[in-house]
Amino acid sequence: MKVLGRIALYAGLTLAALTFIYPFLWMASATFKPLAEVGTLALFPENPTFDNYRTMWARAPFGRALLNSMMVAGTITVSVLVFGSITAYAMARLRFRGSPVLNAVTMGVLLVPGQLTLIPMYTLIVQLGLIDTYAALILPYLFNATAILMMRQFFLQIPQSLIDSARMDGMGELRILFTIFWPLSRPVLSIVAIFTFMGSWNEVLWPLLVVREQQLMTLPQLLTVFSLGGGAGSIGVSLASAMVLVVPVVIAYAILQRNFIESMASSGVKG
């Protein structure tokens, strides 16, 4: 009886896992299928072809979009880590006027839904003349309230004696942060890095508003515009362009799976 239960459990788990994985396998295989075969259930194409990839690459600047996405997500992640930790350090370890207010405001910011500020942010970007610039994609994300609060929480637990003795040695606050706090804070820094990068990598609504120039589009945006605008022309081509977005993420996820789950679950970020 117990054995039967175990078998049923594993059968159920396998079925569930397949439900989540199989669509992606089907997608990967469809990109290697000629048009006539795409509708079939088979996982292995009978006449494998690279045509879908060739067409996709020739019709829209996906290489450029890949670079744009990496540049934008990379810059935002570095900024959130570096400037965010400077802020978090000040809030956690330095007494200055307005510090409690800043903490309260940061928590308040988390409660404001993005849709409330979407249009005013958009008109701001228009008025600053930043439509169709990288700045439009990056500036509104230079700081992240969730990240600051998480780092602040972590920094609060680091013993004061470390700061005191570093100050005695004549270290400035920034040096204390980057040479003493950073190495001790790897867990929280990696959590922040992953959810910030993923949030930016997958973001599509904001780029759709502020970028119209194809050369400046990030991957999810170009993919959306390309598939909707009929540029793709066929399922295989459209899915092949989606692969450019998926493959780097799946590779990173396969390697850092535990960190990904911990990071995204603790931040509430969902693609």
Partner: protein, 287 residues
Amino acid sequence: MRAEQRSGSLMAAPYVVFLLIFAAYPILFALVLVFLQWDLVTTPAFAGLDNVRLLANDGRFWRAVANTFVFLSIHLPLQIVTALTLALALNRRLVFLSFWRAAFFLPVVISGAVVAILWSNLYATDVGLINGLLVRIGLRPVPWLTDPSTAMPAIAAMVTWKNVGFYVIIYLAGLQYIPRSCREAIEIEGATTWQRFRHLTLPLLLPQTILVVTLSTINGFQLFIEPYVMTGGGPLRRTYSIVLYLYTNAFAYQKMGYAATIGVALAIIIGAVVFIQRRVIGRAEAL
């Protein structure tokens, strides 16, 4: 210490500037925009309560609100039941535990745009994978995204599939906090598996359930890329979402005042719905 004061203020200053530009200003200006008519080209004109009046009588807006409730009425129960079932299955000694967890979580890390494009193909009436399976077991193909009565449920099922791994992790964390002594005590009392689930596990998971409901609800009100990519809001506007309508007003019609009004209304609706949900769940618990 003056030096500490000074470096503290200096280090926090960039963030304060950022908050003023990208939080305080947009929030205040959103409220100003409600009273303006502005196409971004000509000078903004004061419009009094025109935008609010228009919104109150705008059938398309209320259609989008109703669509969201249809979405939530399918998505919420489905999400809770699936997440809880998978979490309970994982909450024991298993071979390959981290593999199962990673598999369920996979769609969470994939961009919503990709998932939407992938599923428009899975749902495709003639060549879709799902109808292919249905035909193979002898059923008739279903026009998932082109039939007004199935389009929104299809999207709700897809979003559940995409996010469920996230909520499995939340429930798993909750399950790990249930003390072994409680389980043993209730087992000694002779409780059946169902009774144990109903009177011990489920009540103790209430904080997680509230979190799942809140996050899924907020997520549901922010539905955008799925209808944008999969249906364009159709058929018969049955999948038109509030954010899609907001985006269309801003981007296609250049109505900044009205789009901002929709944004403010959306924020109020989200706040109200989440507040009511928490009261209701809290009261159900008291019974």
